[in-house]
Symmetry: C2
Subunit: 253 residues, 2 copies
């Protein structure tokens, strides 16, 4: 009897990314060098940090003019007023402000701390931060289409970032943008191995794939791109927005 195998492959040697860099080209090159090229059905998980850098979503904190409200929130949370100003600009609303944490709903609809703004892994000046990509679905689509142009191979692309969760300590990697893959794998109407109709039937596969990819990314290794090979994913156009509860359906907002 044959086992079922999925491979999580971290591509090494992706250089420091600058605004305007062609990520698809770099990914194809590293895949050619290291794993004999990308294949039809591969899932490419890309850390949002390098997408943000390629898209120029880098801000110098000293260029930011904080509002009076940002100054007040900064005082209460122990963050700098410039950082809080940027967080507010990237947000629809503050979901929770407590114990010096600032949990917001970003303009994309993600509920996360500090609107996903991050200081780590941005080169040069300590005072420089990276924002999330403006439209991560669009970023994913662009990389997917560019890979199709360069290599004529049909892959799925997931942009990922590391967020905290309710109820559980620690961060895990989540999908924040998708292309060529459905966000949910739907087992409704299918039967389990004893012939029962399945109850838990909608699996957020893109989040599981992002989490799996993080295992090969690490935080201090230079591995912002991971290829997942051998997973039979639900193909098609979709948007990360279909993975987010609107507030009125959310039990915890």
């Amino acid at each position: 009897m044959n086992y079922k195998k999925i491979e999580i492959i971290g591509l090494k040697g992706i250089p420091d990314i600058k605004a305007g860099d062609d990520l698809a080209k770099m990914i194809c090159e590293k895949a050619d060098e290291q794993i004999g090229g990308l294949r039809e059905g591969d899932i490419i998980v890309v850390a949002s940090k390098i997408v943000a850098k390629a898209e120029g979503r880098i801000v110098r904190l000293s260029d930011v003019q904080p509002s009076p409200f940002a100054r007040r929130v900064a005082e209460l949370t122990g963050k700098t007023p410039e950082l809080v100003e940027l967080i507010l600009r990237e947000s629809n609303k503050i979901v929770k402000m407590k114990n010096r944490h600032l949990i917001v709903e970003t303009k994309h609809g993600f509920v996360c701390a500090n609107a996903g703004i991050d200081k780590s892994n941005v080169a040069g000046d300590e005072e420089v931060v990276s924002l999330l990509p403006e439209d991560p679905d669009q970023s994913a689509r662009r990389i997917k289409e560019d890979i199709m142009k360069i290599k004529n191979v049909d892959v799925a692309v997931i942009i990922s970032d590391t967020f905290g969760r309710a109820w559980r300590r620690g961060h895990v990697n989540f999908a924040i943008g998708v292309a060529g893959i459905k966000v949910i794998k739907d087992y409704r109407g299918s039967q389990d191995m004893y012939g029962y109709m399945l109850r838990v039937t909608q699996i957020a596969v893109v989040d599981e794939l992002a989490a799996a990819a993080e295992l090969a990314m690490g935080k201090s290794d230079r591995i912002p791109v991971v290829v997942i090979r051998g997973y039979d994913y639900p193909r098609g156009d979709d948007s990360i927005k279909n993975l987010l509860y609107p507030e009125e359906k959310d039990l915890f907002r």
Copy 2:
């Protein structure tokens, strides 16, 4: 330059589990047949359902006598009174009751719908449900120790189950019990690839490993055991309790 590879291997042919079955023995046998045996440093992810069945955590709903409160909650949530009674018996408290959902904190401290009680994948009578294992850390330790006895090989074991999340649709696989692995991979004090001190530094690796394993489990395949190979995990004794926020530290309870 060498890529970094992690393998997710779903073991096939695990038979229908009955109370008293020796899971460690079955896992070792299937690994021997299919992947040449378990290796030092493998991580074995086991679906809680088969652990519950091996431990006899199966209840016939017709044997349950619902309390008046269970009957009232059943009316309000559209569940059967017997199921609600079981959910309440497995719970410390009701965290949220809304839109016919019943989100509780289980006796273990997990925040999840219906205390993790599940009808799918339990053979025979429709009226039979499986509870979560009583002490999933202990279940994981037993499997780990039994594998050590049978094969003299040091592995990590994670018991996993599929729960919903706040803010995001769909279910993903989470760790609910661990042995031989730290629940958090801690990057505090380490530097990122540009020499910055890392900000997001505590990764809930056991949840990422559980999520990765689900990709090879599927829901309708008979794959309740997954071996993750090639991941350099933080070794040592730990408890899933160290991954759960106590209520007073939780921003969303």
